[in-house]
């Protein structure tokens, strides 16, 4: 579904992504793991065109989408749940969901999907009329995921969804990612919590200073000595 070919990104003089290649096949959960500064978030942000690629290609279903306007990416069925949630604190939960469905105009479908995400995240349902800024960190993360789903994406990209959450909530978030995946949505997950990410991933890539240094199925990498040492703390 998504194909990244030889992607190079620079920030000023810093070579942040040094020719990355990877595939996200339809219907799979793919994860990118790696330490801080490895280029995981940059990769997702480049796919969304928030960061411009200097070189290389990003293809969505064989169509090139490299460096097109970010607002067009979501129209093509790719949604990013950004790092740090980035919900709109001045809008109500309901309005946050509405803006998630900004590209759509099918009123009925939107209402239906709002009910669907409220079912996925019952806590949001109780808070529909509350301002986003008044939610707790965990609730904000759920709102961010729910908002992303409201665009009816075919590919959902999550940037560090477990960051800063209590262990119980982390578990909940990963369960929800799996449920979303079961609905037929392809998932590209970026995580520092390598263990949890590898456990649910069909295939994984390890990034180090802007390069893919290792890849394999989730199970393979969980058993890999190098990964164990560097990311799983064993």
């Amino acid at each position: 579904m998504l194909k990244i070919e030889n992607l190079h990104v620079y920030f000023g003089g810093i070579h942040a992504l040094k020719g990355i290649n990877f595939d996200v096949p339809e219907g799979k959960i793919i994860t990118l793991i790696g330490a801080n500064g490895a280029g995981k978030s940059t990769t997702l942000r480049t796919i969304c065109s928030l960061v411009k690629a200097r070189n290389g290609k990003i293809k969505l279903k064989d169509e090139e989408i490299t460096n097109i306007a970010p607002e067009l990416i979501v129209k093509r069925g790719v949604a990013l749940i950004p790092e740090g949630r980035k919900i709109f604190p001045n809008l109500t939960v309901r309005e946050n969901l509405e803006i998630g469905a900004f590209i759509r105009s099918d009123r009925e479908g939107i209402t239906k999907d709002r009910e669907w995400v409220c079912e996925l995240f019952p806590r949001l349902k109780e808070r529909l009329w509350q301002k986003g800024g008044t939610l707790s960190g965990g609730e904000q993360q759920m709102l961010a995921v729910a908002r992303g789903l409201m665009s009816r994406p075919k590919l959902l990209m999550l940037d560090e969804p477990s960051l800063g959450l209590a262990p119980l909530l982390v578990k909940e978030i990963f369960e929800i990612i799996q449920r979303i995946h079961e609905e037929g949505i392809t998932v590209l997950l970026v995580e520092q919590n390598a263990f949890a990410a590898l456990k649910i991933a069909d295939y994984a890539y390890v990034l180090e200073t802007g390069r893919v240094v290792l890849q394999g199925t989730g199970q393979e990498l969980l058993g890999n000595d190098q990964v164990k040492k560097a990311y799983l703390g064993e």
């Binding site: 949604a79 001045n90 309005e95 590209i103 800024g133 904000q140």
Partner: protein
Amino acid sequence: MSLNLILQNLANGLSLGSLYALISIGYTMVYGILRLINFAHGEIFMLAPYFLYYGVLIFHLPWWASFLVAILLTAVTGIVSERVAYRPLREAPRISVLISAIGVSYFLQNLAIVVFSGIPKSFHRPNFFKTIFQFGEIRIQSTLIASVIVSTIFLIILIYIIYKTKTGLAMRSISVDIETSRLMGVNVNRTISFTFAIGSALAAVGGILWGLRFPQIYPLMGMMPGLKAFIAAVVGGIGNVPGAMLGGFLLGMVEILYVAFLPALSGYRDAFVFSILILILLFRPEGILGKKVQEKV
């Protein structure tokens, strides 16, 4: 001071305030989205009565049609000014955009002097706007009533747009986070253009009502009302739309009452208004309704 005199002044204050309210919306909306004080807004305000003047004089449009055309043209001028002078500086430091705004202000002023000439023109008032209503002892010009009614209508439309429409939702989301709004599929440039169009259209309504009230128009007429509306926006809490409305009404009221109660010092009315700005900036810089954005990280 008699009750009648107080009521008379309150009516005057309300109508002046409604004009400030209309103009201050443009400042506050643009600030809310771009964090820019659009110093050219007073000039946008000045253009509207000129458009109407020429619409009637040269193109012989009926008054109401000319009114609509003037609002439309002013809105277009607002959009064009953003496109030409602010959009290319989207990634630039805020101070550059501010300087650009001051440039647009001077450019429009001088362009108006060249095109319309610097000599004040008398603004044609349809007869209706010359009538004076008598309520007991209080005499109220129909323009005063018209400005309150017309501005209330437009302010209600504005509130509706901002809080009940999709574009309004986009405007509110952009005002906190442009990048994430783009991820949602919001077309930022189009929304900003729309914001300028609305702000300019409201300033146009204000400018025309201003012309009806003080029926003389000249290229520098936008400066003082523009600055005062800016103060009104700050008083209400810049970036906050209901705040700008409240600030506008309050400022108009305070200014008129100042003149009424201290007629000997009425020559200092502008100085008085500016000292309000200084006081607000010193003691409540976020304005009456403005508040620090609550954000959990």
